[in-house]
């Protein structure tokens, strides 16, 4: 049942520009560094001995922003496709459980954001190679900074999807999302428990995997809470 729902959801996002968004996100993040390194490459090379690490950290200043913004747009899009003609009622009147409907939406958004992470990995590695940052390519670190922000952002995904799918007015999740993007941007100023800080992969323990694990754990909690609330509500 869940597989056919996911397939149907992928059909519904056709022609909505969501795949384009999936491409633009990671491309934009790397493109900003193209400008940065294009203008002042020599200066940036002098900043740190490990040129690869410095490059990756530069990329990572914008990844959390892009990921949070992407999640806000995608979740709100997913909900608005059903909201537009109140297709929720038609969808829920089909022989499917409401839990599966919610899980399917969550899966589709996760898939798109995950694909963005794959693209980010490719773009980051590709542009890095053209810069001549050194022969010793830190693959593991590139993987870390491509995929861990995605897992660390799962609580944001859970929260945004919850608010988007139960709000009649998409202005509510978008407003919340805008606040989230600002918080993600001010990550260094925030305490570790703020979920919008997690995609930046910085914490007091200096282990980025902690953010990813926290993200998966707390993301799961928010997902379950959202699903229970979605199931409990009457469909108008």
């Amino acid at each position: 049942m869940i597989l056919s729902l996911v397939k149907a959801d992928f059909l519904k996002i056709k022609r909505k520009g969501m795949w384009l968004l999936c491409l633009i996100g990671p491309f934009g993040v790397v493109a900003l560094q193209m400008v940065n390194y294009g203008v002042r490459k020599d200066y940036l090379f002098d900043q740190m001995d490990d040129r690869w690490l410095y490059y990756i950290l530069n990329i990572n200043t914008f990844t959390p922003l892009a990921i949070v913004l992407g999640i806000v747009i995608l979740t709100s899009f997913m909900a608005s496709i059903e909201d537009e003609t109140n297709a929720w009622k038609q969808l829920v009147a089909l022989p499917v459980s409401k839990r599966a409907v919610y899980l399917s939406k969550f899966t589709v958004v996760s898939c798109i954001v995950f694909l963005s992470s794959v693209l980010l990995f490719l773009f980051m590695l590709g542009y890095g190679l053209t810069l001549g940052l050194g022969a010793d390519i830190p693959y593991l670190r590139i993987i870390e900074y491509s995929f861990l922000p995605f897992f660390a952002a799962l609580p944001v995904l859970g929260l945004q999807l919850w608010v988007a799918s139960v709000s009649k007015n998409q202005a509510i999740p978008v407003t919340l999302g805008a606040v989230g993007v600002i918080l993600a941007y001010s990550a260094p100023l925030l305490p570790d428990w703020v979920i919008w800080k997690w995609p930046a992969l910085s914490n007091d323990w200096d282990h980025s995997y902690i953010n990813a694990l926290l993200g998966i754990g707390f993301g799961l909690v928010l997902y379950v809470l959202g699903m229970i609330d979605f199931k409990r509500r009457d469909v108008k």
């Binding site: 149907a8 059909l11 009622k89 038609q90 009457d234 469909v235």
Partner: protein
Amino acid sequence: MEYIVETKHLTKSFGKEKAVSNLEMKIPKGEIYGFLGPNGAGKTTTIRMLLGLMRPTSGSVQLFGKDMKNNRIEILKNVGSLVENPSYYPHLTAKENLEASRKILNVPKKRIDEVLQQVRLHGVANKKVKGYSLGMKQRLGIAAAMLHQPELLILDEPTNGLDPSGIIEMRQLIQSLPKEYGMTVLISSHLLSEIDQMATRVGVVSKGKMIFQDSIETMRKFAQASIQVKVNDNEAAWRSLLANGQKADLGEESVTLQAEDDEQVAASIRYLVQQGFSIYRVQEEKRSLENIFLEMTKEEQAG
């Protein structure tokens, strides 16, 4: 009797207001059930509860003899529905819209062409639904409801937005369903004339309460003719009829006889003539179903 739909003490409140109260709906197999009521009487709320979209505040819904609460998915496999305004994905074509439901219902692909043919949308199947007229969207909704050949079809105001020829087509389609596929159909409407032409059973709801539920023939029996008599002095004629022990009502311009057969009418007229009244007109007036419907819902509102 085998009931496809049976609700018991079905109640739904929004805050303090009861949208549906103690509703007992019974739909036997193979019937076309007309669900009638003025706007805001609770028809759509009831239908939403039948489909499990809303949870009843109290009472139960049984479809195919199974309780909705515990068998929702199993029940919905055999139910097709169109609730209120048609829902669709405007950026997709009619085919893609149906495909989105087909994937979930798991029926063969050829059903899409079949239902599009049935609602006569096959010519525009590859156009985006965005550009459809309201009537076309409505037909697409009906096509989606019939995709999996359900045993029970629930249509909420299905002729909304259709042009006259579309309404006739839709009526013929709906009437053919019980005969050809053994379907049971529930149609809601606020127009009695529409239900009158299609339904075999009627349920009338007003202010959330079922005020009438029986076959359409029984409802038509209420439509007995009455005899109106116009005389030179209506009030005096009415009084003398009553004094003589004959039932009559005083209208604004005439006296209405509550006669059960022709002989009684003759007797009343003869009596009036003997009393010296000038009789201008004696005419028969049939009460239309429309009037009965209005009276039923009015009584409910007054009470």
